[in-house]
């Protein structure tokens, strides 16, 4: 403590001395000392408090020692410091070492990094290179794929096409189409100069395609055998063969052969096969038209089915006229039934006689009713049927052997029909000599005319052509009949002589009447002409009858003997020769009176004067016509006589008004003319 005080004092002193040296060193020192406020000087305080620690007693000795002591202390402090600093130095050295290590490591790392960096750069470059390569390769791949698509078949496709029995379906057609596309592409390739490749590709593809086409061809042939069941692949398959005309033809031929077989088999089957519900068609053979109609209807329906089959076969084809092709193959299929059909129909035409069985009984039972066979009607109907089916089938098959056969049959039928009709007419006409007592048309005539209208009204199936035939038929019947009737009546033949002119003509008139009413209903193209012809015969018969009737009436009215003188007197002014008419025996007043009395009777009941046979005239109109003409003649003569009596004095009649009071007009009124 003392030492510290001493130390501080020493310091103070040195300071004081310093101040004193500047000015008045002493005063300044003193001043300074005086001014000094030790308690305010922290260092001093501290130094003093330090000093108090080792300078406890302010003694001489102590003061002497103080310096040493302080120096001693300073040394120890410095030593302490040195020791402490050594510790710090060591620590710093350690840090230094560490840093040094770190540094070296860093350097190393840096080097490594450098190396790594160098290395990475190489990799990046490599990657970039590879990337570029990859792009190129991808492009090449695309090109290769395009090439493959354009020029190569997949193994699956090749296998499919080359398989011995491939499944024919969309995949197969796609592969086959591809072969074609490749072939076309190869042509381009050839043009660009890639000859070797192109030829290689071509030969491979052609080989595969050939195999595929072959398989398709075999499949189509095999399909023909099951052609009852059509598969959906059929049209495409057929269309795929379109560019191979020979194979195409062969397939069509095979199909036609199979369908022909099926058609003719089914045809014969349906003719003869018994089913629980339907009798075979041949059972209908007792009615030739029914039998033939059934056969042809069956055929029509079967051919419509066949047309569907063939239509399906050609349905996908693009380069050919499907409808024409279908028709022509159908025509060949239809040929298969030509022969069996033709023989059957021919038999029906030649021998078919629907009512043959009942014929003998009929004709023996009634000799007056000659049997008029229905055969012409049957043949005529059959001809219509054949014509109808010839047209119908032609619509399905076009012209073809079957249609030809039907046309031939139709012609045969027509021929046979005309022959049968002619025979019938001839046979009938020969029977016309005998005039029946009834003077009505004989059964021969009626049945012939019934036959005629049966034939014409059987003209049913088609429209126009038939009417021409109908006209021909009418000619064939009416003309010979009229001729035969005419001959029988007016040709001086036995009939007329036996029966008398009136009877013969009444008969002729009645026949004509029937003819007229029959023919007028037929409405064929020659109907007006025929009616005119009949009318002509009718009129001549009527005029004969009128003549006969008039003659008879004139006779019974006692007019007939007058006529010669009457016309002579009319011409010569009332006289016959030199004799006045009234003086002639047949025209005397009494004769005239006699005539007028008869005339009154006649006028009251003209029908009583009709010839007996006239009652048999069927047509009232004709009867009326005869009466009318007869009256007209009577009136004519009456008028002539009246004129002479009333206006010609030279005729010599006295009291004409008493003799002939009635004027011709009055008579006409009474006659209801």
């Amino acid at each position: 403590m003392v030492e510290n005080k001493a130390g501080a004092n020493g310091h103070l002193e040195s300071q004081l001395s310093k101040d004193g040296q500047t000015t008045n060193p002493l005063s300044r020192k003193i001043n300074k000392i005086l001014e000094t406020r030790i308690e305010n000087d922290k260092a001093a305080v501290e130094a003093l408090s330090e000093l108090s620690l080792f300078f406890p007693e302010n003694s001489m000795k102590a003061r002497r020692n103080l310096r040493g002591q302080i120096e001693q202390r300073s040394v120890s402090i410095n030593q302490e410091f040195v020791a402490a600093l050594k510790l710090v130095k060591d620590a710093v050295d350690a840090i230094y070492d560490d840093v040094k290590i770190i540094n070296s490591q860093c350097t190393e790392m840096k080097a490594k990094l450098q190396a790594a960096k160098a290395e990475t750069k190489h990799l990046t470059e490599q990657t970039a290179k590879l990337h570029k390569q990859r792009t190129t390769l991808a492009m090449q791949q695309q090109v290769a794929a395009a090439c493959a698509r354009a020029f190569l078949l997949t193994p699956a496709e090749v296998a499919l096409l080359q398989s011995s029995s491939p499944r024919i379906g969309p995949e197969f057609f796609a592969a086959l189409d591809k072969t074609l596309a490749i072939k076309n592409n190869t042509k381009h390739l050839l043009q660009t100069g890639e000859q070797t490749t192109a030829l290689e590709v071509l030969s491979h593809v052609s080989e595969v395609r050939e195999a595929g086409v072959g398989a398709l061809y075999r499949w189509l042939l095999q399909q023909a055998r099951v052609s009852d069941v059509l598969t959906a692949a059929l049209p495409t398959a057929m269309a795929s063969l379109e560019d191979r005309p020979q194979l195409f033809r062969l397939v069509v031929e095979e199909w036609v052969v199979v369908r022909r077989g099926a058609l003719s088999r089914n045809f014969l089957h349906s003719l003869t096969h018994l089913s629980p519900t339907h009798s075979p068609i041949e059972l209908g053979a007792h009615s030739p038209t029914r039998y033939v109609g059934d056969m042809l209807a069956w055929l029509h329906q079967a051919l419509a089915g066949e047309r569907e089959v063939m239509g399906a076969l050609f349905g996908g084809c693009k380069s050919l006229d499907v409808s024409a092709e279908t028709s022509s193959s159908l025509a060949s299929i239809a040929e298969s039934v030509c022969r069996p059909l033709k023989t059957r129909i021919e038999t029906m035409i030649v021998s078919g006689e629907p009512t043959r069985k009942r014929l003998p009984q009929d004709s023996s039972a009634s000799p007056h009713r000659p049997h008029v066979s229905k055969k012409p009607v049957m043949l005529y109907k059959m001809r219509g049927l054949l014509q109808f089916y010839s047209n119908t089938i032609e619509q399905l098959t076009g012209a073809g052997l079957l249609v030809c056969a039907l046309d031939e049959l139709q012609q045969l039928c027509q021929k046979m029909f005309l022959a049968a009709l002619q025979t019938q007419v001839e046979e009938s006409c020969e029977l016309l000599h005998a005039i029946p007592p009834s003077l009505a048309p004989s059964p021969t005539v009626t049945s012939l005319l019934t036959l005629l209208s049966d034939i014409i009204t059987a003209t049913t199936l088609s429209t126009l052509q038939h009417h021409d035939h109908a006209a021909e038929v009418v000619d064939l019947v009416v003309d010979p009949l009229l001729t035969a009737l005419n001959a029988a009546v007016s040709g001086g033949g036995g009939a007329a002589v036996e029966a008398g002119v009136v009877e013969a003509n009444v008969y002729l008139l009645n026949c004509c009447h029937l003819l007229h009413s029959t023919v007028s209903l037929l409405q064929t193209s020659n109907t007006p002409q025929k009616l005119q012809q009949i009318q002509g015969v009718t009129e001549s018969a009527v005029s004969v009858l009128c003549e006969q009737q008039t003659a008879a009436v004139l006779m019974s009215l006692a007019l007939l003997p007058m006529l010669g003188d009457l016309s002579a007197a009319t011409a010569a002014g009332g006289v016959v020769g030199d004799t006045p008419l009234a003086c002639r025996p047949y025209t005397s007043s009494s004769a005239v009176q006699h005539f007028l009395a008869k005339l009154d009777e006649f006028l009251s009941c003209p029908d009583a004067y009709q010839l007996p046979s006239m009652r048999h005239v069927v047509s009232a109109q004709h009867r009326q016509q005869c009466l009318h003409r007869c009256c007209t003649a009577v009136l004519h003569h009456y008028t002539a006589l009246h004129t002479l009596v009333h206006t010609v004095p030279a005729a010599g009649y006295t009291a004409p008004h008493k003799l002939m009071p009635k004027t011709p007009d009055m008579i006409r009124a009474l006659m209801v003319l």
């Binding site: 009852d228 059509l230 399906a312 049927l385």
Partner: protein, 221 residues
Amino acid sequence: MSAGPYNYSYIFKYIIIGDMGVGKSCLLHQFTEKKFMADCPHTIGVEFGTRIIEVAGQKIKLQIWDTAGQERFRAVTRSYYRGAAGALMVYDVTRRSTYNHLSSWLTDARNLTNPNTVIFLIGNKGDLDAQRDVTYEEAQQFAEENGLMFVEASAKTGENVEEAFLETAKKIYQNIQDGSLDLNAAESGVQHKPNGGQAGAGGRATLNNSSAGQTRENCSC
């Protein structure tokens, strides 16, 4: 190609009968083409149409024969009844005479088809209600008395046309299912066509395996 004539299991044959002008051809046309043909030409003899329908999941091809109604064609049309599975008998609701003739058509149908033939009565021209000459009720009664299926339809509007053809087919199919229609009868009007290309045991097979028919071919013609 999907609607082509392929892959059907059966063929049913139909015949359409009835007086001239009742609309038979129009009904057929409406059914096959879904169109009304107002100026339909007169049918000469017989005409033909087909359409494939579906009954109970089975594809069935209808082969329809349209006949001329005129008397002069009867001799021809009678041959087409043979082997019909269905007969559509048509009258015109505006013309009583066509209704009155039904019994004659029915007689033909009964005599010339087999007993299983489904006969369907159609009163056509139902669209002309104002000119109606035959009531629905009397025709219904006629149908009942004769065991016929019946509907009034219009070929013009297409109403009930589809139904008539389809109902007939359903009835035929039902007859096949319950065995009353013998497929092996050649004249059943039905042909069975098993799918898949193998000609199996169907109606047609009966036709094909007739070796009797083949041998006869050699001797009978």
